[in-house]
Symmetry: C2
Subunit: 210 residues, 2 copies
């Protein structure tokens, strides 16, 4: 009895904190730091505005909580390609497929991260201290080795990495632009993105393999 009541309280507490974070994610990721209102977050969470300050002290801190949480979701996705033991070709295939699937589930994420990193590049310093922060070292070495083995054409690992990220992420960052230029609706766009799960990796591999 004692126990259940206690946990109930605790759960309730964590509930609101979590509730706030969820609501804040939605709002911040859609509208950015400057475009978001504390009141809107409170409304979406169904609680009093004061609670935001009670749990997170300030808009800035609440935002950072959301941002860190978002980045923690993305970082492992990037690490996948960098730190497993498959060949570059395998990596590209799996990464592309996984990443695009992931993005379809979290369409606001890449734009959110990129945008707010542009607004405040200092955020990165904090993130870089994080243990899970992606490191390119292994990937670069692996590319160099496979080039030497003659499996790949001469390729700069860093540029290859930029290419992979660009091809995978850009359509999600610039969705409205691409929809507009291609004059496609939601459904057609989804189809295009779906196609890219295989198309992008084929495109990359065709370019770098001998």
């Amino acid at each position: 009895m004692n126990f259940t009541v206690n946990t109930m309280k605790k759960e309730k507490m964590q509930d609101t904190e979590e509730l706030i974070l969820e609501a804040a994610k939605e709002v911040f990721q859609k509208k950015g730091m400057d475009g978001s209102r504390m009141q809107e977050i409170a409304d979406k969470a169904g609680i009093n505005k004061s609670m935001l300050h009670y749990y997170y002290r300030s808009k800035k801190l609440l935002f950072e909580a959301v941002f860190t949480s978002a980045f923690s979701l993305v970082a492992p996705q990037i690490n996948k390609i960098l730190n497993d033991d498959s060949t570059i070709e395998e990596k590209v295939k799996r990464f592309t497929h996984n990443y695009i699937s992931f993005m379809v589930k979290h369409p606001y994420l890449p734009n959110f991260i990129i945008q707010e990193l542009n607004r405040n590049p200092k955020f990165f310093e904090k993130l870089q201290e994080n243990a899970a922060f992606p490191s390119l070292e292994k990937f670069e070495k692996q590319v160099a080795i496979e080039v030497e083995q003659g499996r790949l054409k001469p390729t700069d690992g860093r540029q290859l990495f930029v290419n992979i990220i660009s091809l995978n992420v850009f359509p999600f960052v610039a969705t409205p632009l691409i929809k507009g230029l291609l004059r496609v609706d939601d459904n057609e766009f989804k189809k295009l993105v779906e196609e890219r799960k295989t198309m992008v990796s084929e495109f990359i591999i065709a370019s770098i393999t001998k």
Copy 2:
């Protein structure tokens, strides 16, 4: 006499209007619609805040003026690749080189456009009515023809277009992210981008030619 005075006035008038637009570009492109303050724009232009409203009525309209102007700068860049008579291979080469050179000169532009298009996708409807708005039709046909001629591997023109744009634009949209992931400073980043003027087109061409 009458004439000179008249023009002087006119010039002065256009001067402030232009002054405002320049200042507004700087501020809006750096901070976005929500992050920008009318006062800051006025200060940067060295005039009274009321003048902004005198010439552009509202923040929204001033912003739209800036946005349209920015897009008008970018649209011809995109059209270059779509509407000239060179081969796809030539197009890719020239586009990549020109576009990256262009981006280096206007680093805030792509992010600005993408971001604000995300914020308000309706903007596109207005832009699409513009005569200079890029159309993919010709490019798609050309790709289909060159595929049939056997010069290119089977390739979807639209996906190819998305790939070209992604590879060229993304590094400018996500500069801080890429700098962070690659752990490079300003100078090294510039070098990487410079390399991409040739690297990207080679990358694309290697992938699509037989």
